[in-house]
C-alpha cells in the first residue's frame, strides 16, 4: 500500500498534473456555481478536450472537477438561495437562512471546510477500503434500492417544518410528477398530453432551477420593499477554528454516510446530502435549530456529498460499475484513453490509479484554497441591490434551463416549476420534499417493480433480504421518531 501511494505521489509530481488539478478545481467550482450545470455536465463537456493530453492528467482534471463541482453548488445555494447542483438543495436549508441573517461568510466558510474534510475522508476510504466496499456495492439489488428510496423519502419528516402533512402532500406531488413520461417497463405514455418532449419525463435540472431559483425571484419581489431587505448588510466574518472544531462529530458522521452511500451505484450525492442532513438532525441535541441557520445544517450535507466523490470511484475503478452519474461519464474518459476499468487497471496501470488517489487529496487542498479566496467575491455579489440581483437570477435560470438540453420545453418546465414553487411557498408548503421525490421517485418505482418481477410477485422479497429489511426498519424509525418525540414532548409539557 505505502509503495503504491509513493508511486502515486511520484506520478503527480509534475507540472502538468498539478496544472490539471488546479484547472479541474476552478472549472468544477464554476460548473457547480452555475444553475443548470452540475459536476456531471462539466465532466461530460470536458471529456472530449482530454483526448490530446496524457491519461493521468485527463483523469486528474476530470476527478478534480467532479470533486470541486459538488462543493461549487453550495455557493449559490448559500448566496442567493439557488442550488447550483441538486445535492446543494440540502445545504440551502440552513445556508441561505444564514445569508438572510447577514452572515454569508459563516455559511460559505463552513461549506468549504466541511466539503474539503468530506472529500479527504472519501479519498481515504477510496485508498483503504476499495475492495471490501466494492463487495457491498455488489450486494445491492432491486429490493435494497427500493428500501433505500423509501428510507430516503422519510427524510421529509425533517424537511417539512411545522406541518408533516404538508410535507407528505408535497412529496406525493413530486412522486406524481415523476411518473410523467414513458413507463420504464412497458413504454406506455403516462400524462404526456400529446407533448413529445414529455415522453422523456420531467427533466430534473429545470425543475430544480424553477422550484428554487425562479420561485425565489418571485418571493424576493414580494419582499423587496420590506425593511429587512432594504437594510440588509452582509458580514464578511468566516467561522473561527473553534467554531469549526465543534462540527467534528457532524462532519465525521456525514463523511462516513457519504462514503458508504457513494459506493452504491446510482445513489449519488443528492440523496446522500439529504440523508446526511436528516441523520445529523436526528442525532443532534437541538434538532429544532436545523433550518434556522445552524452551521451543522451546512456541514452535514456538504461533507456528505463530497465524501461521495472518492467512494463513487471505488466500484468504477475496481469493477467498472459507476457509483454515480458523473462516475459513469468518467468511464467514457477512461475508455477514450484505451483504459478498461476493473481489477486489471490496478495491475497494469497502478501509477495512474494511485496517481488519481493522491490527486484527490491535492484537489481537496486547492478546493479549500480557492473556496476561501472566493468568499469575499460571493459576498460582494449578494450585496448587489436586489433590484439588479433578482432579474439576473431570473435570466440565469432561463439560460441555465435552456442549457440542460438546448430545448425551450425545458425552459417552460422551469417556469412552470417556478410558479408552482412560488404558490407552494406562499401557502406554507415545503418545497424540498418535491425535489426529494423527483430524485427518488424513479428509483422507487423501477426497483419495486423489478424486485417483484424477480420474486414472481412475492412481496416478502422486501422483508427477507436482510439489507432491505434493515433499511425499511430504519425508514419506520426515521419517520416515526420525530412524531413520537413531539407527542412525548407535548405530553411532558402538559403534565
Amino acid at each position: 500500500m505505502i509503495e503504491n501511494l509513493l508511486l502515486g505521489i511520484h506520478a503527480i509530481s509534475s507540472l502538468s498534473a498539478i496544472v490539471a488539478i488546479i484547472a479541474g478545481v476552478v472549472l468544477g467550482i464554476l460548473a457547480g456555481v452555475m444553475p443548470g450545470l452540475s459536476a456531471s455536465t462539466g465532466v461530460a463537456l470536458l471529456v472530449p478536450f482530454t483526448y490530446g493530453i496524457s491519461p493521468l492528467a485527463s483523469m486528474l482534471l476530470l476527478v478534480s472537477l467532479y470533486m470541486a463541482g459538488e462543493y461549487g453548488g453550495s455557493i449559490t445555494a448559500i448566496a442567493i438561495g439557488t442550488p447550483g447542483t441538486p445535492a446543494a438543495a440540502a445545504t440551502l436549508l440552513d445556508g441561505y437562512e444564514l445569508t438572510r441573517q447577514g452572515q454569508p461568510g459563516m455559511a460559505l466558510g463552513t461549506s468549504v471546510v466541511a466539503s474539503t474534510i468530506g472529500g479527504l475522508f472519501g479519498a481515504l476510504v477510496l485508498v483503504a477500503f476499495s475492495e471490501p466496499l466494492a463487495k457491498v456495492a455488489l450486494s445491492f439489488g432491486a429490493p435494497e434500492y427500493f428500501s433505500l428510496a423509501i428510507f430516503g423519502l422519510t427524510i421529509i419528516s425533517s424537511m417539512s417544518g411545522k406541518s408533516l402533512l404538508k410535507g407528505f402532500i408535497a412529496m406525493f406531488l413530486g412522486l406524481l410528477i415523476k411518473t410523467i413520461g414513458l413507463d420504464p417497463f412497458t413504454g406506455t405514455e403516462r400524462f404526456t398530453f400529446g407533448v413529445d418532449k414529455l415522453m422523456d419525463g420531467i427533466s430534473f435540472i429545470p425543475a430544480l432551477i424553477g422550484l428554487f431559483a425562479l420561485s425565489e425571484v418571485f418571493v424576493g419581489i414580494e419582499h423587496l420593499k420590506s425593511e429587512i431587505t432594504q437594510n440588509a448588510k452582509y458580514s464578511f466574518r468566516i467561522p473561527t477554528l473553534q467554531e469549526l472544531a465543534k462540527l467534528w462529530r457532524v462532519i465525521l458522521q456525514s463523511s462516513i454516510i457519504g462514503s458508504v452511500i457513494g459506493v452504491l451505484p446510482g445513489a449519488g450525492a443528492t440523496i446522500t446530502s439529504f440523508i446526511c442532513y436528516n441523520e445529523a438532525k436526528r442525532f443532534s441535541g437541538n434538532p429544532e435549530k436545523y433550518g434556522t441557520g445552524c452551521l451543522e445544517g451546512i456541514a452535514a450535507p456538504e461533507s456528505g456529498n463530497n465524501a461521495v466523490v472518492g467512494s463513487a470511484l471505488i466500484p468504477l475503478l475496481t469493477l467498472g460499475i459507476p457509483g454515480s452519474a458523473t462516475a459513469a461519464v468518467l468511464i467514457g474518459a477512461l475508455m477514450l484513453h484505451g483504459l478498461i476499468p476493473g481489477p486489471m487497471l490496478f495491475v497494469n496501470h497502478a501509477d495512474l490509479v494511485y496517481g488519481i488517489f493522491v490527486g484527490l487529496f491535492v484537489a481537496c487542498f486547492f478546493q479549500l484554497l480557492f473556496g476561501l479566496m472566493g468568499i469575499p467575491l460571493w459576498i460582494k455579489i449578494i450585496s448587489t441591490p436586489k433590484a439588479l440581483l433578482l432579474p439576473a437570477i431570473a435570466a440565469i435560470a432561463v439560460v441555465g434551463a435552456f442549457g440542460t438540453d438546448y430545448s425551450l420545453v425545458d425552459v417552460w418546465i422551469m417556469v412552470a416549476f417556478g410558479i408552482l414553487g412560488y404558490i407552494l411557498r406562499k401557502y406554507k408548503f415545503p418545497v424540498t420534499p418535491v425535489i426529494l421525490a423527483l430524485v427518488l421517485g424513479g428509483i422507487l418505482e423501477e426497483n419495486f417493480r423489478r424486485a417483484l418481477i424477480i420474486s414472481n410477485g412475492d412481496y416478502s422479497i422486501f422483508f427477507t433480504k436482510p439489507i432491505s429489511l434493515a433499511l425499511l426498519i430504519l425508514a419506520v424509525l426515521s419517520l416515526g421518531s420525530p412524531i413520537l418525540i413531539e407527542r412525548l414532548t407535548r405530553g411532558d409539557s402538559k403534565s
Partner: protein
C-alpha cells in the same frame, strides 16, 4: 382572506381526480406485467387525496392572502414574455431588454450602472454559456 389550506387541498384533490380519470386513457399493450403502468400513479393519487382530506378537516388552518402582489404578477409576465420571444428575437437582443425592464419594475433608477449591468450581464452569461460551455444560445433576429 381565503383559508388557503382549504383551497390548496381542494385544488390538489380536483387535480388528482382529473389525473386518475386520465390514467384510464393510457394506451397499454396486452402484457403489462405484474405491476401495470397505471399502478404507481393511481396509488400516489390516492395517497395524495387522503393527505388532502386530512388537511381539509384539520384544525388550525393557515390563512394567507390569496392574491399575488402586482409586482409578482408583472415579474411572472416578464419572464413569460422573455421565454416566449427568446427563439424569435434572440438572446443578445432580448436579455439586456429583459434585465432593464425587470430592474425598472423593481424600482432601480440609476441609469448608468443599470445600463452597464444589462450589457455586462448579458456578455458575462454569453461568455460562460456560449464560449466556455458551448451552449448554442438562440440568435433569433441576428441569425437572419
Amino acid at each position: 382572506m381565503v383559508k388557503s389550506d382549504r383551497f390548496m387541498a381542494i385544488l390538489f384533490i380536483a387535480a388528482g381526480a382529473f389525473l386518475y380519470l386520465w390514467s384510464y386513457r393510457f394506451v397499454q399493450g396486452e402484457d403489462v406485467g405484474l405491476i401495470p403502468p397505471t399502478f404507481f400513479p393511481r396509488m400516489i393519487i390516492l395517497a395524495l387525496t387522503v393527505c388532502c382530506l386530512l388537511l381539509l378537516f384539520q384544525k388550525n388552518k393557515v390563512t394567507v392572502s390569496f392574491a399575488a402582489p402586482r409586482g409578482v404578477l408583472a415579474g411572472v409576465g416578464l419572464v413569460l414574455g422573455y421565454v416566449l420571444l427568446m427563439n424569435r428575437v434572440g438572446y443578445f437582443i432580448l436579455t439586456p431588454l429583459f434585465l432593464f425592464l425587470f430592474s425598472i419594475l423593481l424600482g432601480y433608477r440609476r441609469w448608468i450602472p443599470l445600463l452597464l449591468f444589462c450589457i455586462g450581464g448579458t456578455l458575462f452569461a454569453y461568455l460562460i454559456f456560449y464560449s466556455v460551455l458551448a451552449v448554442p444560445l438562440p440568435m433569433g433576429l441576428l441569425e437572419s
